[in-house]
């Protein structure tokens, strides 16, 4: 049998298992593509091993890892995603918590899965074609019988509907 995994002070393996998704998503949110997020998540945990913080409680560790990840991302001289305040640590932390809550975004993703089902057919198929099938706007326009500008507007509307639905769903949950 493996070592106990619900314990107050995590080992490195436990810390990785618990926080890797959160750090990876955080880096993606900052603007890293999946490959860079892989690499920088790895680097953040290596730094954790080399310079562990004094407070290893779950929230403190998560915060430490996010700060390290931000520094690593900035050291790559990457431009952040539009609207993500890379230079303002406090705002960054608050905005992250507002979306990812304290569960690294798991509830958000569950709400998204539910809200996708409730989208009207046309916006839903636009979202599916764009994100799952990664179709270009021109192909999408041809498939949906609208213009490229119409596709952009349709996708924007679909995302707005999703955001509203997710917000309501997260609010209504305990």
């Amino acid at each position: 049998m493996s070592a106990p995994t619900i314990a107050p002070t995590p080992s490195l393996d436990e810390a990785i298992a618990r926080h890797q998704r959160g750090v990876w998503r955080f880096l993606r949110w900052l603007g890293a593509d999946p490959a860079l997020a892989d690499d920088l998540t790895q680097d953040a945990f290596v730094q954790l091993l080399q310079h562990p913080p004094l407070d290893c409680s779950d929230p403190a560790l998560a915060s430490w890892l996010r700060t390290t990840a931000t520094n690593l991302f900035r050291s790559q001289h990457r431009r952040g995603r539009f609207g993500v305040p890379l230079d303002d640590p406090d705002a960054l932390a608050t905005l992250w918590r507002r979306n990812a809550s304290d569960d690294d975004g798991e509830r958000y993703l569950a709400a998204l899965a539910h809200c996708l089902q409730s989208l009207p057919p046309t916006p839903r198929s636009a979202i599916e074609l764009h994100y799952r099938h990664r179709q270009r706007h021109e192909d999408l326009a041809a498939k949906l019988g609208i213009t490229s500008a119409g596709v952009k507007s349709l996708l924007r509307r679909a995302r707005e509907l999703l955001e509203r639905c997710i917000t309501n769903r997260l609010r209504s949950e305990p």
Binding site: M1, T5, A7, R21, W24, D90, L112, H133
Partner: protein
Amino acid sequence: MNPPRSTSADEAFLEIALEEQLGGAVPPDLVARIRRSANGTPMPRRPRPAPATAADRPATTRCARNHRLLAAALLLVGSAVVAGVALDSRSNRSGFAAQEPQGRDDKPHSMAAAAWFPLSLGARWEYRQARDGDERKITVTATAAALVGGMPVVQLTELDGSEPRFSFWSTDEHGVHQHASQGTSGDPLFIAAGVHGCVLPSPLGAEAKWSWRRLPAIELPKFGAAAVGRRTPADAIDCQATLLGVAEALRIGDRDWSCVHVRIDCTTKNGPCEEHVWYARGVGVVRHAVHVEGQPEVLRELVQFTPAPPAPDRSNVLTALINAPGKHCEWVTFPPEDDAAWTLRSTFALVREGDAIRVFRVFGDHAVAFDRTRIEDFQALAADEDFGPRMEGLFPQRATVGLARLAARLHALQYEGNTVRDGKGFRAEIGQAAAKVEISVVVTDQDGKDQQLVVKARMTMKGVPEQVDIQQ
């Protein structure tokens, strides 16, 4: 300080959530990679140096070893290829944009091969396979994983409406590896045959040619696996791989892909064989063409890829059920030689409550109490595991033995037994309607006292357990 009201940051979060939920950009499991990195093994994105000593070198680096003298030259060639591709992708953004949405095409990409072959449990690929005018649907699913020699090996199950076929894969900083099992292609149990090949080395583009060895597939005869014997390294065939492109535009149906294109040449018992494989980042194999001399080409093309659903932390899932954060629990691990390791995705936790030890089962995002004496709990387990479509060939026997061993293991752990080992006696009967097995196990308790157990299990050919009993 109050954050600025930034809806853009919220939109950015929705964007990554959609890419994760629908687009396959899911967080990888980096535990092994970080552990290796922390131990001083070079990180995958860097060019690969030769390991310091033979003992340090992982057994799966054959493709690097065979071409050490050419490595420097190939690295230069590979770098030129990557640079060329980068320039090409800038001048031809549409090809990359189809696969990498959100304008990420102006950023450099990690060339870690593992990103071209995602092996998360639950990932599913649907292919259309054509051969000589005959078309069929093939489904490949990442169905199980176990640690073999410290390396996570993932079992892929291929279904085409007949007997399932199993293959075993892993990824690490050196690339994507296929592991040969001694058994037939219809055997879900992995028994290392001592042959593994690096089918796609990391970083992509650093090697223009490489070689590897693989075992030819053998089918399961109707009268049992033992009759065909076991595959050994002596049966292995050499494969020569050539990297033909790292951002090759490929259109399948109405979908554009940017692919790594590899040609593989080998000689099979049926004659010279030429294969072409196209890998797409975050997706895996999108096209695979096999041409054996004198035979019609077999062409497989991706119809749909469904990424693995986000895997919640099992400790969190369990904590949510038992509602006792910080409570001590122990997770049951199955050794790779246990049938349960290759037939079950559920994980089991033991939680002490007073003098008793309770068992919980976690599957994906839900956890339930599990009582090994209740057949209903085994039936719920089988329903989650979706045994039904795989109940052909050797799977019924392996899955039924897996349930029997699971019952024995849980019995031993709940009653403070230390070890479980096989006893003398094993009987399996695979009929038209059900698979029946009887296994003997020996449980040794903490005082060193042995206890002999006989476990009987029966499961219908629809994958429904009917009996899992322990007799002392």
